[in-house]
Symmetry: C2
Subunit: 221 residues, 2 copies
């Protein structure tokens, strides 16, 4: 978000309308969808690679990658085995529901069970735009520091699930887990949280079990 | 930046006018000013702490901290020995020239040699807003990954100086320095670059020498 100008409210309400359309489209195909948000370099793409690889054979996964430039992330998701589509925002600092609505027709929704949307790396702006996914996942990472919930409250307040990535770096950087989690708890009490390392694989199983349980629950609705 | 709506151009040109006013105010007081930009957690505040501590006795330093919420960073800068002021943007994803113009009267400019402005942690939006500083410094960090120049070209293209922080983590994370620097060189040929670790102090001297040389050159103009 930039300045507080009247037009912003209209943009947000138009966005919400298109987000609802996206959700209806996903629901019609029975596709459960997650919106991954994070700082640049927290490990969203690595988490997608690991998730796609480990769930291959169990779930068919589609990935929509949002970046300002390049198709590097879509290539990584495709190499891991996902059906992947790249959105280049051309300077825009977040995805919005219109961008996702333009990407959806490029994925055969009847051939996937789970859609992961990777937002632009940004701990501020993406929090304001519902895309039409069912859950939002914030990927934090240890080297970013333990003060981030306090400094980026909008993002931490708005998400449904938190992944704390790069726990293998805990011995090498100053990070007070209690201080971090107190900040999270104040903003988002009881937030479902997974601490893991995409690099070593530690903690991944609980995250994968959560995804499978969420999809099971979604199908029962 | 959000959407490409006409009002944005007017905002940017108004911003540039106020940025020029800020620069005139700094020049009238003979204060050299740097705008630090980075992803959340790359180490802007740590670099400020180290810079203030190491240059104490040689240079009088003022710090303007930009954050969405909290005064944690201003407290850290003050504890290191700087005159510090906190701007809370209240949700805004970047500083702009108006915000800096409101912070400047809170600092006795005739009592400092160097002003460091720490922008909101964001690798996209701050690049679009001149604040009225003399140089912009991008703080990258090793755990963010080596693909960031390719994925955030606007930021890498627009800055005058690059600090690569957290080189002490190179043994623990995958990071191809050649690939990273090729990306930087394509976007911003010959960009002045310092690789260092705020944690171990490695590489800090060259950075501090650069600041001192820049201030010397600024005073000769």
């Amino acid at each position: 978000m930039t300045h507080h100008i009247p037009v912003v409210e209209q943009i947000l309400s138009a966005n919400d309308r298109i987000a609802d359309e996206n959700r209806n489209r996903l629901d019609a195909a029975g596709v459960f969808a997650l919106n991954f948000m994070a700082s640049p370099g927290a490990g969203k793409t690595s988490l997608i690679e690991q998730t796609v690889r480990k769930l291959a054979g169990e779930l068919r996964i589609g990935v929509v990658e949002g970046d300002i430039a390049t198709s590097l992330d879509a290539e990584r998701a495709a190499a891991a085995g996902a059906v992947s589509v790249q959105i280049n925002t051309g300077g825009n600092c977040h995805l919005d529901a219109v961008m996702l609505s333009q990407a959806l027709p490029q994925i055969a929704l009847d051939k996937i069970d789970l859609l992961i949307v990777e937002n632009v790396g940004n701990l501020v702006c993406p929090a304001n735009f519902d895309l039409g996914t069912h859950r939002s996942v914030l990927v934090a990472s240890i080297p970013e520091g333990d003060d981030k919930p306090y400094k980026y409250p909008g993002m931490y307040r708005g998400v449904n699930t938190l992944v704390i990535n790069k726990i293998d770096l805990l011995p090498y950087v100053p990070f007070n887990m209690d201080f971090f989690q107190r900040g999270v708890e104040t903003l988002n009490p009881g937030l479902k949280t997974f601490a893991l390392s995409c690099r070593t694989g530690e903690g991944l199983d609980a995250w994968l079990d959560w995804i499978k349980a969420e999809i099971k629950a979604y199908r029962k609705i």
